[in-house]
């Protein structure tokens, strides 16, 4: 017996069986694990109040709610500008007050998408021939990102977009690899869904179509390329077709979403006038700002190694050149965001570079699934030093999580993506909850107040309530017991409409807050006030 050594003899078979079982069921295990992480994460952010910090999250929830409840419920409340799929998905649940006010109606799709995206990352790496360690590492890079964990816990559109875009690229790459037409159809389906979530999906559609044409033209000539292009785009662009049709039918202008008064174009025009749209026509600055946003969302370590991983992938002769080219679609979000910033269609503030605040910095997170795939690939290919790279990653992520390093949370807490409307909404909650009467308010400007007041949607007269809005802005004293607006601000549609009526003299300003003022109808006019929705049902 050697006393300087401890020897343990382990039977091989149980471990081999266990490892084989894990390998066979790895995807299911990933799904279960991510589902648990998702729920824990949601509960954490719900409890600390960050679940509803994003102004846009509250607006998304309100849009979904207005479809099912309000003075003019209906699909038309889906509105324009923001693409409709996230709100449509909320409809089955958002009728429930808890699901609405907890944000769960919107967060559920983010959570489901989070789990699904993790699975797609795993499958993508498996398709590229990456071993178990690399696949799992790719998923780890995705879920151990505080920004992803936060975005998956809230009613925003990011995770749904991540899922549909990544799934689309996955199926497209599969088609390049296997030539299976069903994979191409599935790719078109997922891309089509992404076109109904955010405009990033529209760029992805064009990029994927370009890849398909290039691939088939090279392989089979022009006619075949034309055929595949039509096949892909018929399904892929169906969502865009529906959206244009929707805008034409509801707003009488197919491009209302692009050029209407609430469009990003209109918003950006105002910012340009104010001199803060610095990325417009400045390619270098657009590139710099987006790079910073991407790095801040994923850490410099992950970004740099992912770039190395991408290069390794694209030059790996073991993989079919067509497949390698198809994976370039994973960089579509990067190209789209820079293009959007350059053209002035998007605005992104990174603190310290474009002023002293954050805004839309979450756009940098759209590359995270792609970075995770590239990193998983790199870990698989680098046999020597693999453990070192993983250990360094662990070091970086430990401190990232321990230090609460999440720019999306900073944007939600203190950046321009949040609005602390608690004073206004608190006032309404206290003074209007137990009183009768409608509240006249612009949803375009004050959706956060509507949400945070926790009053039923049918208490509010806003732009989307049709004849109620028309009546209330013409004769507010007959319809609005309270008016919430930013006085002297023509961007506030309520103020813009009310000021020409000269009816404000019938109101008393009962509260003045930084975000908005609250006016209440004087008591002598209460007898003629309508407190019930008496107008005929509107189409």
């Amino acid at each position: 017996m050697n006393i300087t050594e401890l020897t343990l003899t382990i039977p091989r078979q149980p471990f081999e069986r266990m490892f084989a079982w894990i390998s066979r069921h790895a995807l299911v295990l990933v799904l279960i694990f991510l589902a648990i992480i998702s729920v824990v994460s949601y509960v954490h952010f719900y409890q600390n109040g960050l679940g509803l910090a994003y102004n846009d999250a509250r607006s998304h929830l309100d849009i979904g709610r207005r479809v099912v409840e309000g003075l003019k419920p209906g699909l038309a409340q889906l509105g324009s500008v923001w693409l409709p799929l996230p709100h449509i998905l909320m409809i089955p649940m958002i009728w429930n007050d808890f699901m609405w006010h907890s944000g769960l109606a919107g967060a559920l799709q983010s959570m489901t998408s989070f789990v699904a995206t993790g699975a797609v990352i795993y499958m993508f790496l498996r398709m590229l021939g990456v071993g178990l360690l690399g696949r799992v590492f790719g998923v780890v890079v995705f879920f151990l990102n505080l920004n992803v964990l936060y975005l998956q816990s809230i009613a925003m559109t990011e995770l749904l977009l991540f899922f549909t875009m990544t799934a689309g690229v996955y199926e497209l790459t599969k088609w390049h690899k296997t030539d299976n037409i069903l994979a191409l159809i599935r790719a078109a389906f997922w891309v089509m869904l992404s076109t109904l979530i955010r405009y990033d999906g529209w760029f992805l559609l064009a990029y994927c179509a370009g890849l398909i044409v290039f691939h088939i033209w090279k392989k089979r000539g022009y006619r075949a390329a034309e055929g595949y292009f039509i096949l892909f785009c018929t399904l892929g662009s169906f969502g865009i077709f529906l959206w244009l049709l929707w805008n034409q039918l509801i707003f009488k202008d197919a491009l209302y979403f692009a050029f209407g008064p609430f469009s990003a174009h209109a918003q950006q025009a105002q910012l340009e006038t104010a001199g803060v749209l610095m990325t417009k026509k400045n390619l270098l600055l657009s590139l710099k700002i987006y790079l910073y946003a991407m790095v801040f969302n994923s850490t410099a370590y992950v970004t740099i190694l992912a770039v190395v991983g991408a290069v390794v992938l694209w030059f790996d002769k073991r993989i079919n050149p067509a497949v390698r080219l198809s994976t370039s679609a994973l960089c579509a979000p990067f190209l789209f965001n820079i293009l959007a910033l350059y053209l002035g269609h998007s605005v992104l503030f990174v603190q310290g570079i474009s002023g002293n605040t954050w805004f839309n910095v979450r756009y940098g997170a759209t590359m995270i699934p792609s970075l995770a795939i590239f990193m998983g690939y790199l870990i698989d290919r680098v046999k020597i030093g693999r453990l070192s790279l993983i250990a360094l990653y662990a070091f970086v992520i430990f401190f990232s999580v321990a230090n609460n390093d999440a720019v999306t949370i900073d944007d939600a807490r203190v950046g321009s993506s949040q609005k602390n409307v608690s004073e206004v909404s608190g006032y309404l909650k206290t003074h209007a909850a137990n009183e009768e009467g409608f509240i006249l308010i612009s949803a375009a400007s004050h959706d956060a107040i509507i949400f945070s007041s926790e009053l039923p949607m049918k208490r509010f007269i806003h732009e989307g309530t049709g004849s109620y809005w028309e009546s209330a802005t013409t004769s507010p004293d007959r319809w609005a017991r309270w008016i919430v607006m930013r006085t002297h601000d023509d961007n506030d549609l309520t103020y813009k409409a009310i000021r020409v009526t000269n009816q404000l003299s019938k109101y008393t300003m009962v509260a003045k807050f930084p975000f908005a003022d609250v006016y209440e109808l004087k008591s002598e006019y209460l007898s003629t006030l309508n407190t019930e929705p008496t107008l005929p049902k509107q189409k």
Partner: protein, 505 residues
Amino acid sequence: MKRTLPLMAIGLILTALLAMPLKGDKLPDGSLAYQQTEDTRVPGPFESSGSSSRYALVEAIVKSGTFFFNDVQAGLAAPDLVQYNGKYFSIFTPGVSFAVLPFYLLGNLFGIPQLAAYGATTLVALVNLLLVVLIARRLGAGIIPSFISGFIFLFGTNALTYALTLTQHHWSMLVILLAILTLFKQPGLLRNLFLGLLYGAGLLIDIPNAFILLPLMVYAAGQHLAGIDEGRTVKIKLKLVLIFLLLGFIPLLGAFGWYNKQVTGSATRLAQFIGRSDYPPKPKTTTEKKPPDPYAPTLPFYSRNQLNGLYILLISNERGWLYYSPIVFIGMAGLFLAVKRKETEKIAVVILTMAGLTITMYSSFGDPWGGWSFGPRYLLPATALLSTGIGLAIERWKRSILFGLAFLTIAGYSIYVAAFGAFTTTQVPPKQEAEHLVTFIPYTYAYNQQLIDQNKTGSLVYNLWLNGRVPLTTVVMMYQGIGIVLVSIAYTLACRKRIFKKNDI
């Protein structure tokens, strides 16, 4: 005899080159400055509190038998000073001060305590040069390429500047390089004890060493585990001598805990956690305290700093390797070559991991500049580690004329820059501070060049014997020239196959 004479000559040249920029001055009465009084002028040995705080601790131990400072020592140590329970002590871990204590005592006998204490660091720098040579040899480089590795490490990077201070850098590098060299030995009782001891010493010298040495310790521990495939079973063997890694660590960890208990009252409360104090102390203001931000970073390494940190440390003209010592990148390339060789694959990975961890850590640090400093001082451990690869790069590409030209140009430039810091000061401000100074100071080595043009130097040899006789610019140029010529000769010799064979030691 054949080798002894050249080795002695090399030793003498190295000693002379190191002695030349040693910091000191003479007083009007002809005696040596800084030995009995603490003059913090720039350039000078007490120009930076990174050195003077450690020196103050040495003085406190010798003169007062305590770790606490009197008023003079507190003033010398500020702002690297802590005030706690009405007493002042150094914010730094005591390892460097303990290590130079014998040298201070010896120097005191001859009236040169400061010179002797600082000379200890210079001596360690020379040892580090030798260690780099030895490691380069073990990695597979020939004698002359290995010598070039060591020479460039010390004379072609900011390691030279910090060899003349009482900071933690060369002591940390000593521990790290010794640990790497020890790793080449097979696991055994003495080897493990020594590694454990080095880890403890590293912690005593500077807290980040505990992180930097971690990959090495993990690898060393992993060497005690072996799996033998016996068909139906797998035998896992664990060598119990592993325990000596821990046993070697415990004494110095205990010493560290004891020191902490003396100064802070608790073995686990570090001076750094209490925070800096000024001397004289600033009056307390009665401003309203803001509630703490629950999302503010609480730990020192913040990943959001990393992009900027990487830029500052690797590329920028403020502190970047590319600007101060680009030769390090050639060393990196050499180590990647070592990774491809089976015999050196694992150790090369360990070295690269430690270097990578150093870069990752300090790029995430709130102050990658290292305050007022010359070059990327926080990257000095990585500089030493990567320098071991220079010899391998030379071995691999010495037949390429293009490589030769590039190497000599880059090495020459690195030596040229290194000399500026050594002869003048480490006190180069970061850009963001320089721009707000009432009198502008350049934030690159341009500041050092300015001082040289003004004939201001911290070099004792120059101040004692050459000042007024030879312009400082001439002396520095000659110094740089000697370094560049030495490397060029060595490189030329390395390109001649028949002179020295590999692994001849």
